[in-house]
Amino acid sequence: MRPTQPFRVRLAQTSPRLGDLPANMADHLEIISRAAGADIDLLVFPELSLTGYYLRDLTCDVALTTEAPELAQVARAAQDLSVVIGIVEESARFSFHTSSLYLQRGNLIHTHRKVYLPTYGMFDEGRYLSPGHCVRAFDTEFGRIGMLVCEDLWHPILPYILAHDGIHYLIVTSNSPSRGAGPEGIGIAQTYDEMLRTYARLFGIYVVFCNRVGYEDGVNFWGGSRVVAPSGDVVACGPLLERAEVDAEIDPLEVRRARAAAPMLEDDDIHLALMELGRIRDERA
């Protein structure tokens, strides 16, 4: 689909209660209702928005299958808009995944399972969760979208694949903790800013980034949710450290203009990438 119509996106920079599904459900339903009343077309919640982050042994207690009544309740509340929410997804084989779900007018049309689970430093995700094994673009009423979760963004092959899979918009949901205090503020927030702007500009796409806030066991999440245009300009940015709802208009013709001005993505030779990656794989073996 070749999109032409602008649409309104809202980033819900929330602060979930750790492992408290009923409280987080109530928060979601209230925010969804408010967004529907404000003519929002696409509402994005952060990674693990229904559960919180440092779940550890709570992981399997708060996991939901995609048929769970909680998701049906979200779907019923979101008949007039599209919503991205974050859950611990339980599969039929009883594996647990950090998943972003895309519901279009109440229908689940895409699930992205976080591929890269950080298990180093302050992170312990691989101990409790299983990785996803694919990344796919999907068609929506607004155009073609790709979704990544937090650490996925630090592996440039994933946005590269999605860009070649035809996305106009990349949605990145996150639970990024503040760290690296320095004279310029929160170091990690600056790194994210650079990455988001770089991907937007290199691939000629909108990047929609939703990061949570709040504290868990002393760790805080910095927020700063934002929408970056294909030019690399930040068109809307939420505050640091506070709950907020950040609105922006997304215009697909900006993608068109960026591609016309700088057609790097079309010039990109995926055969070269495949050939060289194949060679590297064979040499490693």
């Binding site: 209660r17 750790l18 503040s178 929160i186 504290y215 002393g218 450290l241």
Partner: protein
């Protein structure tokens, strides 16, 4: 530029948000902390007052007979300025009563006893006032082990535990701690003339440069020496960190069952909050 420089406005916002969030989400509204007149507890008090509102903060001063009167004066100066609630508990009778039974006790035993007595008083006030204990220990002293186990390290929430002393000084100036408190030599104030730096045989300014690289940037002792830091000093600091690791951990528990607390029974403290 100093590698330890921090953005004070953002750091203050994180620390005040931390104190408010971690206290209120477990259904408390108030904080209690021990106020000595030194820079660490002064900064913790400023953070707690801004986070909770001064009317919801109780500063407890717990002098001993040999404590410097100047210390209590500085404590009162700040507590008055912030408008927090105040309480004074002279620990001399209970400390002296105990050491009458052990008149030959060393200075270390007396110092540790006082630190733990203060902890015990703060936790009693915690119940009496439905207030959580806010900690005052910084990262430098925790890493060097210059603390009393279950004494000054004990708290419910500690906003300073990830700040080096050098950063405590920066933030204290930003948050309006009186200059007289910032400028005086840090001391545990356990005997006349005692100073942290005199007792440790190092300055916080120099040890923080080593600790920041060793801990935050993961430099090895060999890399620190290659970069120009004194080998004997680096070795001493490394041994102090290693030798005090036990102070930064909970007691060891012998594993017997299939699922042991904290080893394979793993839940965050903020479970459900």
């Amino acid at each position: 530029m100093n590698v330890l420089d921090i953005d004070c406005a953002t750091t203050a916002e994180i620390l005040c948000g931390f104190v408010h969030d971690e206290i209120t989400k477990v259904a408390f509204q108030s904080a209690v902390l021990g106020l000595s007149g030194g820079i660490d507890s002064a900064l913790s008090l400023c953070i707690a007052a801004r986070a909770m509102g001064p009317q919801n903060v109780l500063a407890v001063m717990m002098p001993y007979a040999t404590s410097s009167p100047e210390s209590e004066g500085h404590a009162r100066l700040l507590a008055d300025r912030l408008g927090v609630r105040q309480s004074v508990v002279d620990i001399t009778p209970q400390i002296d009563a105990y050491f009458q039974r052990f008149p030959d006790a060393s200075r270390l035993r007396r110092a540790n006893k006082m630190a733990r007595e203060r902890m015990s008083i703060l936790y009693d006030h915690s119940v009496a006032h439905s207030a959580l204990v806010v900690g005052t220990s910084n990262k430098t002293e925790a890493l060097l082990g210059y603390t009393t186990l279950w004494g000054d390290m004990a708290s419910a929430v500690n906003p300073l535990g990830d700040l080096y002393k050098t950063q405590v000084r920066q933030l204290a100036a930003y948050m309006g701690v009186p200059q007289v408190i910032i400028d005086k030599p840090p001391t545990a104030d356990l005997w006349a003339g005692q100073t942290d730096e005199g007792e440790l045989g190092l300055t916080y300014a120099e040890v923080d440069q080593v600790l920041y690289r060793m801990i935050d940037l993961r430099w090895s002792p060999a890399e620190l020496v290659a970069a120009g830091f004194d080998e004997a000093f680096v070795t001493r600091v490394f041994e102090m960190v290693k030798g005090s690791q036990y102070k930064r951990r909970l007691p060891l528990v012998a594993k017997v069952s299939a699922r042991s607390i904290d080893r394979d029974f793993r839940y965050s403290r903020d479970w459900g909050h």
